[in-house]
């Protein structure tokens, strides 16, 4: 048994106290102050989830973007560099609420009824496989604000959302930027082997691609509002699911391009982590429908025929049919024929409800 003299004991005690105090201080110093974050968190959010997201946003500050073919700059319409890409995200993502957050009479306020929206056109919402009664859905992330904007527009109403700790947020455009996060967002890239910590750079990049994907849903106007997903076609892994994009600049393309442009930052990542990120990227790209049938059913064809014929009437009368959103997609189609439509880039300018905030 070691027997120290009083002087040695004092020195050891001082050393231990200093070491403990130092590690506590260091731990506190490493935590990012949520008050300083550009994205605001509801008070009710899980602290661990919040701190991980803050780490992700911190990691974003030091990412460089590889864009040799200019695809990132043309897709995001900003310079492919750190500040611009951060600003792109913050313009579309402003608040985070937890999975437990409910939109009900306690949290939703109608700030205007019978409102005439500046752009009355609505996007096409394709139905995919419906939720089985009693099914458990694991939330990853969703753009709640954009969904509420569209929901309001469909009812000629404008809503506001009460976010715990952040007050009342008016939803006067899809850029309200209220995102809901769930446990699904925080699954590690390499789950089975435990080969990567949940807060490593590879996992941050994985989650950031989801933030950017959801941020894209904050864009669009009229028929491109929210950049809604489409039903995946025959041949896709997700055939029949509402989990694809019928455009070239939608959420899945955004997420995939983000991953491709930032992968080179992963110098401290293992080869396995990088390959897992590529898997994510490839999955997202697989959801982009480059070409699709204009008509998915006989009733769809009949409805589209009448639109095409209406647009022809405009043209016959010397009225430019392209000024109408519903004519733009059909100006090269012929009524009564099955036509393949090539996917294009949608108009990503965000609309507003046309009222003051």
């Amino acid at each position: 048994m070691l027997n120290f003299n009083p002087l040695t004991k004092s020195v050891l005690a001082a050393f231990l106290i200093t070491a403990v105090a130092g590690s506590v201080w260091a731990g506190k110093k490493d935590k990012i102050d949520p008050k300083k974050s550009r994205i605001k968190f509801a008070d009710t959010i899980d602290r661990g989830q919040r701190d991980l997201m803050l780490q992700d946003l911190e990691a974003l500050k030091s990412l460089s973007f590889y864009d040799p073919q200019g695809k990132v700059s043309s897709l995001f319409k900003v310079l492919p560099e750190t500040n611009s890409m951060q600003e792109w995200l913050y313009a579309r993502s402003k608040y985070i609420v937890p999975e437990s957050f409910k939109t009900d009479q306690n949290t939703v306020k109608v700030i205007k009824e019978h409102h005439i929206f500046t752009n009355p056109a609505l996007p096409t919402l394709e139905k995919g496989r419906s939720v089985e009664p009693g099914a458990t859905i694991q939330v990853v992330m969703s753009n709640l604000g954009a969904g509420m904007y569209l929901g309001g527009k469909m009812q000629n109403a404008v809503f506001a959302l009460k976010i715990p700790g952040q007050g009342e947020v008016p939803i006067t455009s899809p850029r309200a930027g209220i995102f809901q996060v769930g446990a699904g967002l925080f699954q590690p890239l390499l789950k089975k082997s435990g080969g990567t910590s949940i807060d490593g750079l590879a996992n941050s990049l994985s989650r950031l691609s989801v933030y950017f994907h959801e941020a894209r849903h904050s864009d669009g106007n009229g028929t491109s509002l929210l950049f809604p997903h489409a039903v995946c076609p025959e041949g896709s892994d997700y055939s029949g699911y509402n989990a694809c994009d019928k455009n070239l600049n939608g959420p899945y393309t955004i997420g995939a391009e983000f991953t491709g442009a930032t992968l080179h930052n992963c110098t401290s990542c293992s080869e396995a982590e990088k390959e897992a990120l590529r898997n994510r990227q490839a999955d997202a790209y697989s959801r982009v429908i480059a070409e699709y049938d204009l008509f998915v059913s006989d009733s769809d064809r009949m409805a589209t025929d009448s639109i095409i014929n209406s647009c022809k009437v405009f043209a016959d009368m010397g009225i430019d049919p392209n000024q109408y959103d519903f004519c733009k997609n059909y100006n090269t189609a012929t009524a009564g024929t099955n036509t393949k439509q090539k996917a294009t880039a949608w108009d990503d300018n965000p609309e507003t409800a046309g009222i003051n905030d």
Binding site: S130, L189, K191, S193, Y241, A243, A256, G260, R278, R280
Partner: protein
């Protein structure tokens, strides 16, 4: 013990056969890659090794030599029929068997909802993890070109693998093919969706 070595050899020959088939199907329509008899596998693997040797010679040979080499490859002689038959080592075989046996496939999506697949579903993420570990293994334990190519080629041809996995495997095949031959692999080696998707992956 004897059974194990026979099984190991058969699996190794299978991998090599698949690699040989893809190298020779440049420009042809894509066919299913299936198993072949042992003797045919040996013959095809010899053709493969001769092709690799010829392509190595081509980088420095004259036109005349190239023609001679090309002629040589058309008719491998009995004399070199025992040349360089590469059998993957047991660790590679074990990992490869485990990969193909356990990787989640697309039928794992049965019963999923829209919300489940909005982001990459857990099953596809897990499939990617299996592939990720194979990649780590190949980087840490360099294998003969034919072995690594054979694995990725077989992976890219599986009809019920997730598209993302097939595409990465196809991209790796293309990378190895270009590294060896200096040429771009024909897209016809893969199904249409895989061929398109593989071009988008950042290697």
């Amino acid at each position: 013990m004897i059974k194990k070595s026979i099984v190991s050899s058969a699996l190794g020959i299978g991998l090599i056969t698949i690699t040989a088939l893809f190298l020779f199907k440049d420009g042809n329509t894509n066919n299913d890659v299936g198993s072949t008899s042992t003797s045919e596998s040996v013959r095809k693997s010899q053709k493969l090794m001769n092709l690799i040797k010829v392509q190595e010679q081509e980088t420095t040979a004259t036109d005349k030599t190239k023609k001679e080499a090309a002629t040589h490859i058309q008719q491998p002689t009995q004399a070199n029929s025992h040349a360089v038959l590469i059998t993957p080592d047991s660790q590679v075989l074990e990992k490869s068997q485990n990969f193909f046996a356990k990787i989640p496939r697309i039928h794992a999506l049965e019963g999923k909802t829209n919300a489940d697949v909005h982001d990459i579903p857990a099953e596809a993420l897990e499939a990617g993890e299996y592939l990720a570990h194979m990649r780590e293994f190949f980087v840490q334990n360099p294998q003969p070109l034919v072995v690594e190519t054979g694995f990725y080629l077989e992976c890219s041809q599986q009809k019920d693998f997730f598209e993302s996995v097939k595409a990465i495997c196809a991209a790796r095949v293309g990378e190895l093919y270009t590294k060896k031959t200096g040429r771009k692999i024909s897209p016809l080696v893969f199904d249409k969706r895989t061929a398109v998707l593989k071009e988008k992956i950042t290697l």
